[in-house]
Symmetry: C2
Subunit: 282 residues, 2 copies
DNA sequence: CGACACATTGAACTTTATCAAGCCAGGTGG
DNA sequence: CCACCTGGCTTGATAAAGTTCAATGTGTCG
């Protein structure tokens, strides 16, 4: 793991290697919920890194210094735990931030590998924190980025903790569909960038199980599978897979009688609101 | 048998009224990695809430306003997903923060229920962020708290994605042991505050599986189980369970390796560093 | 004391992993 | 151009790990 990785044009501001070496904040901020209310702020520029499929953006153990904002492309983050197990922790794509979990330990905790040619803005954390101190919107967006990441992990834990293989795969496809959709791509037709093995690792399954589940879903007509191309034919069917029980209409306890000791009520369903790429943060 | 009682010695100083209504930052900050370099800062006080076992600190859907710092006690955070599955997401105890994931959606996403009589400091997020803007150490600690939470979730995802039931339970016990140890309690004898069902939910297992695994570990001599009391007899055995393969990774084992050192696994891995109450952030 | 919630244990059953072929598309080199 | 590799995918047969169902035990609390 001690592989000295020379990072291509990291701090090169002007050196226009193959392409541009930096982006202005104003160019990518909107995709991450940053509101730029001060025009000067928008002019702050950050180095850009271009990563080709198969290359690493960061490696586990590298000293933490920057957050990476994916401007376009697709990555996988892979952690190798102490037992030597490889786990795909996340599949970040355009509009998502990478590396937040490295702040506390002081080093990145996972390898981040591009699955497709990608562009990221490398924002030194110290600088970001500094900007945040001057601009409330930036600070807010930064906190929210952390919080959102946390929420995502929680969903993942629920998925791994409770869902069957079929439900996990359905959930995975719906998530991809949703994310592609938000970016303006088709919600029903897309190409997977990762192997069955990687999907399995991400979902806590073996690649054979993923393959079989794809086949089964295809046989049921819910989706079409051709190699790495997925077609979603019946969105509702996929969603239904995750409602295993005939959920009876739940009784809604009047919001006031909160004397509930011990037992936990069915609790008000927290609507999954659109937290998309939108900027708003009341 | 001595039920390790987390004595509420909280109000050591003044106003030992039955229910003191506030704590000064200086009193609990050190436990969370906050460095108080400005004495005036230490005087800032926050409301305290005392929660009895079985009561809820927050409920899913409640509007997000504060982060709760557990001063003493033990909680579970439970999410009920859209399918109606209950999942125990975390088991926060003394020295940990609760509610960080609620910032982005604007409401708490899980029920947080006390498993034991507990005391928490309720720190309004807005106020915390404001303090952070004036004091770099506070801000840093806040970011780190987010980052650390993220790291914890990642470990959880690895656990759920790759480990067998036995390894999950072993890992769970080691984690508890470690956490109790950090707080000054015995690392080898402690009382579980949660049911088998809750443990199972947390580990992605059924309660029967947890029970069976406890029994098996007890039969092997690694632990002792008496109802809710756990005794760890063989720490190394538990640790060994998580090294399923004779994984001889490429890290060359130093030729003249120390054998004396009580069979300490080759875990020069990113050692889980003392992230306890320590403050350092080089 | 009796009820009840929690825990343990057994046996049957399901789901997923494992092992083992075989297949297919794309790339390489003869 | 084709024959042939190769890496990834599919599919089948078994096995293993957990779940489910069910019965029984046990401490706690009213």
């Amino acid at each position: 793991m001690a592989r000295t990785d020379l990072r291509p044009f990291f701090s090169s501001e002007h050196s226009a290697a193959a392409g541009r070496a930096s982006v202005r904040l104003a160019e990518f901020a909107p995709f991450f919920g940053f509101e730029i209310d001060d025009p000067r702020l928008g002019e702050v520029a950050f180095p850009v890194r271009r990563i080709k499929a198969g290359e690493s953006l960061v490696r586990a153990g590298d000293p933490f210094d920057a957050i990476y904002f994916v401007r376009c492309g697709f990555f996988k983050t892979v952690r190798v735990d102490e037992a030597g197990n490889e786990v795909v922790l996340a599949l970040p794509m355009t509009g998502e931030a990478i590396g937040l979990d490295g702040l506390d330990p002081g080093h990145y905790t996972a390898d981040v590998v591009a699955l497709d040619t990608s562009l990221v803005a490398a924002v030194p954390f110290a600088q970001l924190a500094h900007l945040g101190r001057e601009n409330a919107s930036i600070e807010r967006a930064l906190f929210r980025a952390f919080s959102r990441a946390l929420g995502r992990e929680h969903s993942m834990i629920c998925l791994l903790g409770t869902l069957s293989a079929e439900a996990r795969v359905a959930s995975f496809l719906l998530d991809l569909s949703d994310r592609f959709g938000r970016l303006g791509y088709s919600r029903t037709d897309f190409a997977l960038r990762m192997t069955r093995q990687e999907i399995g690792s991400y979902l806590g399954l073996k690649l054979e199980t993923v393959s079989r589940t794809f086949s089964a879903l295809a046989a049921s007509g819910a989706i079409g599978v051709d190699r790495k191309t997925i077609t979603i034919n019946d969105l509702a069917a996929l969603q239904a897979i995750m409602q295993p029980k005939g959920e009876e209409p739940e009784m809604r306890p009047a919001p006031g009688a909160v004397r509930a000791q011990g037992a936990h009520r069915p609790s008000p369903r927290l609507a999954r609101e659109a937290r998309g790429r939108a900027l708003a943060f009341a």
